[in-house]
């Protein structure tokens, strides 16, 4: 059976101005405007967002599980890279 689904889009929502966008989920839509509308209808019905990004899923480039060792493990034992001793803007987002 052929795939008749519209293209997939990833949705990112921002809770309030200034804070980072968070991945909310994905939707199907035939074009940008309807992607934005579908994202609005599916992911901001309960006052979750003040701004929405939609991105065609095909444009998301992801690392793979095989990358895990070389990408992320080297940072495990480098405590000095953590800005633990002063406040960072990100800390207020928690």
């Amino acid at each position: 059976m052929s795939n008749t689904q519209w293209p997939l889009w990833e949705v990112f929502t921002q809770k309030k101005s200034g804070v980072p966008f968070e991945h909310a989920g994905s939707i199907h839509a035939p074009d940008k405007e309807l992607a934005l509308q579908n994202a609005r209808d599916v992911y901001s019905r309960r006052n979750e967002a003040t701004c929405i990004w939609v991105v065609p899923s095909e444009f998301i480039v992801s690392s793979t599980p095989e990358d895990m060792g070389s990408f992320f493990e080297p940072s495990n034992d480098k405590i000095y890279r953590h800005p633990n001793f002063y406040k960072t803007p990100g800390a207020s987002f928690e």
Binding site: H28, Q37, N38, V42, R45
Partner: protein, 254 residues
């Protein structure tokens, strides 16, 4: 406010509430039947916006009438002839194209109507209009975009929305009918002069129809009657379904 004006204002609130409720009920029929999941949610979102508007107008009507009536009394215990919703709102969903045509024609009207009602001298109506305007602005955007895509889409999608326009155009005149209720309220700046909305509404329709490659129907006999509670055959069936439970079990609770 004198007694006549109070009576007129109650009727005015019922008109607005009834149109919102009836179209909200119609859109609710799409729940679980939308063409795609996202659109299913969109249609029921719009439905809930409209039902919310209806509740606010009924609550205000109940306060004005001052007989202890609740929003449920207005929604569930009035008959067809006591409903004043616009005829276009009660028309069946048809296919998705037809539903979008109905939504577009009505939302465009609401957009200009609430923009004007925002300036009402009645503070409560003005506040309800302000809130409703934000909602219908999205309804208009949503339905406009769909109408353009379907009208300027495939031969099949074009035929469906063109059929929708042909079926529904005769109910657009009903939106602009004014009677004694309007004139009693217009002179104090409470109600909206609907004549002033005709041009902007028509221009908006023309603009979107052009993008949708649809033509504006001409010389159509306009069916009216909503101001007098006279309806097409569809409202009775809708109310029968909507009111069945509260009428069979008055005061029933979830």
């Amino acid at each position: 406010m004198n007694a006549n004006q109070n009576k007129s204002l109650i009727n005015y609130c019922l008109r607005l509430g009834d149109s919102s409720l009836v179209l909200g009920q119609r859109l609710g029929e799409w729940c679980g039947h939308g063409p795609i999941l996202e659109e299913d949610i969109a249609l029921t979102n719009i439905s809930l916006d409209l039902i919310g508007q209806a509740r606010a107008f009924y609550t205000y009507a109940g306060e004005l009438e001052n007989k202890g009536k609740t929003e449920d009394d207005y929604a569930f215990f009035r008959d067809e002839r006591e409903y004043y919703n616009l005829l276009i709102c009660e028309q069946p969903n048809g296919d998705f194209g037809q539903t979008m045509v109905r939504q577009f024609l009505y939302s465009a009207f609401c957009y200009y109507f609430y923009s004007a009602l925002k300036k009402s001298s009645d503070a409560r109506l003005a506040a309800l209009a302000d809130k409703s305007l934000k909602e219908v602005t999205y309804h208009l955007r949503h339905s406009s975009e769909w109408l353009i895509r379907l009208g300027d889409g495939t031969a099949e999608s074009h035929r469906r929305v063109a059929d929708g326009v042909a079926d529904l155009w005769c109910f657009t005149g009903d939106m602009f009918v004014m009677d004694d209720v309007d004139s009693a309220l217009i002179k104090d700046g409470i109600a909206v002069d609907l004549n002033a909305l005709k041009m902007p509404w028509e221009n908006k329709v023309k603009e979107v129809f052009q993008l949708a490659k649809l033509s504006l129907p001409e010389n159509v006999f306009m069916i009216q009657g909503s101001r007098d509670g006279k309806h097409t055959e569809h409202l009775g069936h809708l109310l029968t379904e909507m009111q069945a439970l509260p009428r069979a079990f008055p005061g029933a609770q979830w």
